[in-house]
Symmetry: C2
Subunit: 316 residues, 2 copies
C-alpha cells in the first residue's frame, strides 16, 4: 500500500514549485517547472499536476491532502484566482476545482505571502516562534502576518499588505492610487526606477550609466562605492526602516523576516536597516528587534503549502 | 451565602475606577475615586480596596477574581508597576501582592490600553468582533491590539505602541527619542503645543489668543471656523490617517476604535479621518474601513478589568 503524503503547489509568475512531505510535514521531494504563461491556466495546471503525480509515483506515495498558493488577489473560500498581475489570463480561475477533480483530497488555498510566512514559521527563519511578520520585497512588496502560530487574514483577507502603508506622506503616486506607499519607494521595481530617474536627471557620474538597471545592479554598484547607487540604496533603507518600524510598533513580533529578490542583498540591507529600525523603535529593548533574511529564499511559499496541506488533512 | 462576583480596578493618574460584575461578566456596579497622588501607592491602593470591599458588602457579594489595569510600563507576570509617567512614586510597586494580601483570589494585571481594548471588545464598540485595534488619543497615544478575541502582547509586552510609529519621517523629536512619531504630532498635548507654536510665531489672528490652549480648545475653535485652529486640526487628522492607515494595511482589523480625550471630538475627527484613511487604504473595500469612537469612553479600562477577572477565574 502506498504511503500517504502531503503535497504543495506554489504558482508563481515565472516558475511553479511542487513539494511532497510526510504526514508529519517532513519534506520528501521538491521540484520546479517554468510557468509558460502563454499556455493559459488550464494547461499550466494540468502540467503541474502531471508532474506532481509523477513525483508521488517515484516514491510510491499517495496524496492525502494538498496546499496551494498563488499571488493575490484570490478568494480562499471559493478557491478562485482573481486576475493576479503576474498571471495574465487567470481571471476567476477555479483552481481548487481543478485540483479537486484530479486528486479528490482535502485542500486549502492561500496567497503566496501568507504561505511564505507559514513556510518560514514552520521550516525556516521563524522555527519555534509564534509571532512574526514575513515581508517580500520583490517587484512589489507584500507580507504575511503570523500571530500565535496562525496567519492573520483580516477583513477581506487584506491583512499583511505592508507594501501599502504610507512612509513618505506626500511621496510618489503608487499603483494602488495612494501616495508614498512603501512599495512605490522600496520594491525592486521602485529601486530601479529611482536610480534611472537620478541617472536621467543629467550631469551625474555613475558606474551604472548605460547598464540595464535593476535593483540588483543598484545594490552591487552601491557596494562598489558608486555614489548615486549608494544614495538610492540609503533612501531604500531609510523608508524600509519607517515601514518595518511601524510593524514593530504595532505588533512587536518576535522577528521580521525579509524575502524576495531585494532581500538577497543580505547584510548590505539587514545591517543598516536593523540599526535604523532600532533608532525608530525606542520602546523595545534593542535586542528584541530581530530582522532576518528568509531562510528558504524562493522556496518559502512551497514549504508553506505543505503546512496548508497538513492543515487541510487535520480539518477534514 | 454571599454571591460570587468579579472585580475590576482601573488605576489612572487622576481617577481610579472600580467595577463589580457577575461571574458571567454582566456589570453590577461601578464607582470612582480621585487618585490622590500625594498619598503614594500604598495608601492610594488601600483606599481603593476599601471602597471595593464596601461595594461588595452593599450587594452582599464575595469577590471571586480580580482584574487590575494601570498605565505602563509594568510587569504583568511579576505584578509590578514600573514608574508610569502619570503615577509618580509608583516605582516597582508590587500591586498584585497588595491586591492578593487583601483578597487572596485569582487576579490578572495588564496595561490600561490593553484593558480598554478588552473592554471595548466585550462591552463596547467591538462587541461580537474578533479583531480590533483600540487607540487612545490623550496626553499620549497608546493602543491595544486584539486578534482572534485575545490581546496581542508581543515581545517585551510592547505590541500596540501605535503612538511611536513614524508618520512624519523628519518630524519633531518625540519623548521616546525618535522623530515624527504619531504621538508627538497628534496627542492632545501635541495638538495644544502645535497651536501654541503657531500662535507665538506672531502676526496671527485667532480666537484662541490669550486662552489656556488645550486640544479641546483647538477642536472647538476649529469647529467655530478659526483658521489657525482648523489648520492644526487638519494636520492632526492628516497624520492620524497615516498612522491608522498603517494599522489597517498591516492588520485589516474589523474596526479601529478611538478612545481618550481627543476622540470626544466625535464626527469632527471621525468623518475626515475615515475619508483620508480610505484614500490611503485602497486595497480594502471602503465599506470595510470602520473607525469608531469608543462606546465606553473613560470606562473602557475598568470594563476590561472585569474581563481580566473572568479570565483569572477561568485560569485558576
Amino acid at each position: 500500500m502506498p504511503r500517504q503524503v502531503l503535497a504543495g503547489i506554489d504558482i508563481g509568475g515565472t516558475k511553479i514549485a511542487l513539494g511532497l512531505a510526510g504526514l508529519d510535514a517532513q519534506l520528501l521531494s521538491l521540484s520546479r517547472l517554468p510557468t509558460q504563461i502563454e499556455l493559459g491556466p488550464d494547461r499550466i495546471m494540468q502540467a503541474a499536476l502531471d508532474q506532481l503525480e509523477q513525483m508521488t509515483q517515484e516514491i510510491d506515495a499517495q496524496i492525502a491532502a494538498i496546499g496551494v498558493c498563488c499571488g493575490g488577489p484570490l478568494d480562499r473560500r471559493k478557491g478562485l484566482i482573481l486576475s493576479p498581475p503576474n498571471l495574465p489570463g487567470w481571471d476567476e480561475f477555479p483552481i481548487m476545482n481543478v485540483v479537486n477533480e484530479r486528486f479528490g483530497v482535502p485542500a486549502l488555498l492561500d496567497n503566496d505571502a501568507n504561505a511564505a510566512a507559514l513556510g518560514e514559521l514552520h521550516y525556516g527563519a521563524g522555527r519555534g516562534l509564534q509571532d512574526l511578520m514575513y515581508m517580500t520585497i520583490s517587484t512589489g512588496i507584500g507580507g504575511g502576518l503570523i500571530v500565535r502560530g496562525e496567519v492573520v487574514h483580516g477583513v477581506a483577507d487584506a491583512a499583511g499588505e505592508v507594501g501599502h502603508m504610507t512612509v513618505q506622506p506626500d511621496g510618489p503616486l503608487c499603483g494602488c492610487g495612494s501616495r508614498g506607499c512603501l512599495e512605490v519607494l522600496c520594491s525592486g521595481t521602485a529601486i530601479a526606477r529611482r536610480a534611472r530617474e537620478r541617472l536621467s536627471s543629467g550631469n551625474v557620474h555613475s558606474s551604472m550609466n548605460g547598464k540595464n538597471i535593476t535593483a540588483k545592479v543598484v545594490a552591487e554598484a552601491a557596494r562598489d562605492g558608486d555614489i548615486l547607487a549608494r544614495e538610492v540604496w540609503d533612501e531604500t533603507v531609510y523608508y524600509l526602516a519607517i515601514g518595518i518600524g511601524a510593524v514593530i510598533s504595532i505588533l512587536a513580533p518576535e522577528v521580521v523576516i525579509l524575502g524576495g529578490g531585494v532581500s538577497l542583498a543580505g547584510d548590505q540591507l539587514l545591517k543598516p536597516l536593523t540599526e535604523q529600525v532600532k533608532s525608530r523603535s525606542k520602546l523595545l529593548p534593542a535586542d528584541k528587534i530581530n530582522i532576518l533574511q528568509a531562510a528558504l529564499a524562493g522556496d518559502s511559499g512551497v514549504y508553506g503549502t505543505l503546512f496548508l496541506a497538513q492543515r487541510a488533512a487535520a480539518l477534514s
